[in-house]
């Protein structure tokens, strides 16, 4: 089933066009990887999906992005409601400088998802368990989240993102600041999370894309060159550029 479908998406930074006519469908409850060399626009595309580009003054987005039969670029779309449905994990772990508990409870609090302290405790626990962090932090929920290691911080950010039960989770190079062991843990986690969430991950590592994703899109210079099942893209690409990138000839 198709969860997100983007139609003729153009993005401009001031006068410079960053994305050209992107048409990409994202499958529900699968992992879609976006790959491509630096500056190709894959992060820009990712940020279109929860309208994080609104934050940048000079950025303009054209075209349609349809999620649940609804165009999120429409004027009637409320970004707060949208971002409740579409969570995001960033390149660098960015926990709030608050306690681990407060990091998780922030989203449910502002969206009024828990009626009582008990309910909130439960949300915090399930979120941390889903993010495979519960075992490590259950005894120090009220210590600052910034005191955790890099990998733990990133899993905390994932737990924070899933605390509001989003339908989609966007991940912008979530492992680029982590060591191989932490990376392996996050990848395992992504595999687990795709049961309940649709995941879109931007990555620089082709190995990672091959390991975790079912679908892959290859971006180059602001254009979506090729997309399809990961197997096909890696084993049997149609486009010459895709082939060159995958085999490491450029990028």
């Amino acid at each position: 089933m198709i969860k997100i479908s983007s139609k003729n998406v153009d993005v401009f930074y001031g006068k410079k066009q960053a994305l050209f006519n992107i048409n990409l469908d994202i499958e529900e409850n699968q992992v879609t990887a976006l790959i491509g060399p630096s500056g190709c626009g894959k992060s820009t595309f990712l940020r279109c999906l929860n309208r994080m580009n609104d934050v940048i003054d000079i950025c303009r987005v054209k075209g349609q992005i349809i999620i649940n039969d609804f165009d999120i670029n429409d004027k009637s779309c409320d970004v707060v409601r949208l971002r409740e449905k579409i969570g995001m994990v960033f390149q660098k772990p960015n926990p709030f400088p608050k306690t681990i508990y407060e990091n998780i409870s922030y989203g449910p609090t502002i969206h009024g998802m828990a009626q009582s302290k008990n309910e909130m405790d439960e949300i915090v626990e399930t979120s941390l368990k889903k993010a495979a962090l519960w075992e490590e932090v259950q005894d120090r929920l009220h210590e600052p989240g910034t005191g955790l290691s890099g990998g733990q911080q990133q899993r905390l950010c994932i737990a924070r993102a899933i605390s509001v039960k989003p339908e989609v989770i966007l991940m912008d190079e979530p492992c680029s600041a982590l060591d191989p062991i932490a990376t392996a843990q996050i990848e395992e986690l992504i595999d687990e999370l795709k049961k309940d969430h649709t995941i879109i991950i931007v990555t620089h590592s082709m190995a990672q894309a091959a390991r975790v994703s079912q679908n892959t899109g290859f971006f180059h210079l602001g254009e979506l060159i090729e997309h399809g099942s990961t197997d096909k893209i890696f084993k049997n690409p149609e486009n010459k550029k895709t082939q060159d990138y995958i085999t490491g000839r450029f990028g």
């Binding site: 934050v55 969570g87 960033f90 960015n94 926990p95 910034t146 993102a161």
Partner: protein, 422 residues
């Protein structure tokens, strides 16, 4: 080749050594000036915290005080103390003629009969008895006793006469002159008599001004900074505002004083010489300082924190109020305190709005006339009497103490509440 390298190495070492020396001597110079400054102030000011008292036997003669038999408390308050006060001073030298009696009277403070009155009100049973009473020495004798007054000047160039000095020396020999902690320096308002002048009025004036300043400047500046930094679109108009705020921070304080005079006093008819007007004027001055500090600390909050909150579905306002502003508060608060410390030491604008007036009452609210500490320093520094010289330094010491405490507080806030983010 090797030799050349060696030379280069030596040259580099020497340059580094020289640079260290320059830095050290700069610091040494700065410290030296500071030490000279502090030494000067302390050495002239410390004696102001001591006050000289003459111990004079006073006979509480009911007849001289015009008191009936068994007087009530009210009667005691209304009684005439001037005659017994005068008599007790005159009795110090039984052979004194009228002129000399006058000189004897001037050896103590102007209000000496009040000190005698207080004694009797404390203990009404003293009527008809004689008791040694502590009387504040005149400021000139106070200075003589502290050794600040040259005795070797010819008599007509001195404010103390030979006769007064003779009697004073006799009293000193008898142990009837005592130096005690000068509490009245802190509890009395200003006075034309140096021995009675205190900083209570100006201290309270300063506190009220600073409070008014804080209550106006802080909310206005913080709101302005948050709006400019987080919400306002970045365009030419906001750039223009930013330039103007930075300019405002550099405007000489006397200009703000003129503004206070022209607008607050002339147009709005607010009461002259009051901490209210002083505080408003100072708040205009502090405003840009706080705005700049607040904006700088908002800028220092990493954008990743804002992104994290926004991506969680927090609105712009929630992101700002829940995350950015709390994280910027330590910087904002310490900037505020530094701005207030600056305002506390400000003199020129306060002189223009009339806080330089002679105020001999202690203000009870920001609407009562008052002086302020730096203005008090200015007033006393202009006074001719020798007794005010040490008061100037003592007042500077109080002001410096106040400033040190505020700056220390700013440091503590910064260290204690500053959070680390990854």
């Amino acid at each position: 080749m090797n030799k050349k390298k060696e030379q280069l190495l030596n040259k580099r070492y020497k340059a580094e050594k020289r640079f260290r020396l320059y830095g050290q001597s700069a610091i040494f110079m700065a410290l030296l000036f500071l030490i000279i400054f502090i030494f000067k102030i302390f050495s002239t000011g410390y004696s102001a915290f001591q006050k000289t008292w003459l111990i004079v036997p006073v006979t509480f003669d009911a007849e001289l005080m015009m008191l009936e038999q068994n007087p009530s408390k009210e009667d005691l308050k209304d009684a005439d103390y001037y005659d017994i006060a005068l008599k007790s001073m005159a009795d110090l030298d039984p052979n004194a003629n009228e002129n000399q009696e006058n000189e004897l009277k001037r050896m103590v403070s102007y209000f000496f009969e009040r000190e005698i009155k207080r004694e009797l009100l404390n203990d009404p049973s003293l009527i008809g008895k004689t008791k040694d009473v502590y009387l504040t020495a005149s400021d000139d004798l106070d200075q003589v006793f502290k050794g600040n007054y040259p005795r070797d000047l010819p008599e007509d160039q001195r404010r103390v006469t030979d006769y007064q000095l003779k009697i004073f020396d006799q009293l000193v020999e008898l142990g009837k002159v005592e130096s005690k902690f000068n509490l009245s320096f802190f509890t009395y308002p200003d006075s034309r008599e140096a021995e009675l002048a205190g900083i209570a009025s100006s201290f309270m004036g300063s506190i009220f001004s600073i409070l008014v300043c804080l209550m106006i400047a802080f909310p206005v500046a913080v709101l302005a900074a948050i709006y400019l930094e987080e919400f306002a679109p970045k365009n030419r108009f906001t750039d223009f505002i930013e330039v103007n705020i930075n300019n405002l921070a550099a405007v000489p304080s006397i200009v703000f004083g003129l503004l206070g005079l022209g607008i607050l006093l002339a147009v709005f008819q607010l009461p002259r010489s009051t901490p209210l007007v002083g505080g408003i004027t100072l708040s205009l001055m502090t405003l840009p300082t706080i705005i700049i500090a607040c904006r700088a600390s908002l800028k220092a909050v990493p954008p990743s924190i804002r992104e994290a909150a926004l991506a969680m579905g927090a609105s712009k306002m929630q992101t700002t109020m829940h995350h950015t502003v709390p994280l910027s508060m330590p910087g904002t608060l310490s900037g505020t305190i530094i701005g207030l410390a600056q305002a506390l030491g400000e003199t020129a604008p306060l002189i223009l709005i009339g806080m330089v007036a002679f105020v001999n009452t202690i203000p009870g609210s920001p609407l009562d006339p008052a002086a302020s500490l730096p203005v008090q320093i200015y007033i006393w520094a202009e006074s001719a009497e020798r007794g005010f010289v040490e008061k100037v330094s003592a007042c500077i010491m109080v002001l410096l103490g106040f400033l040190i405490i505020m700056n220390l507080f700013a440091q503590i806030i910064r260290h204690k509440f500053e959070k680390k983010w990854s």
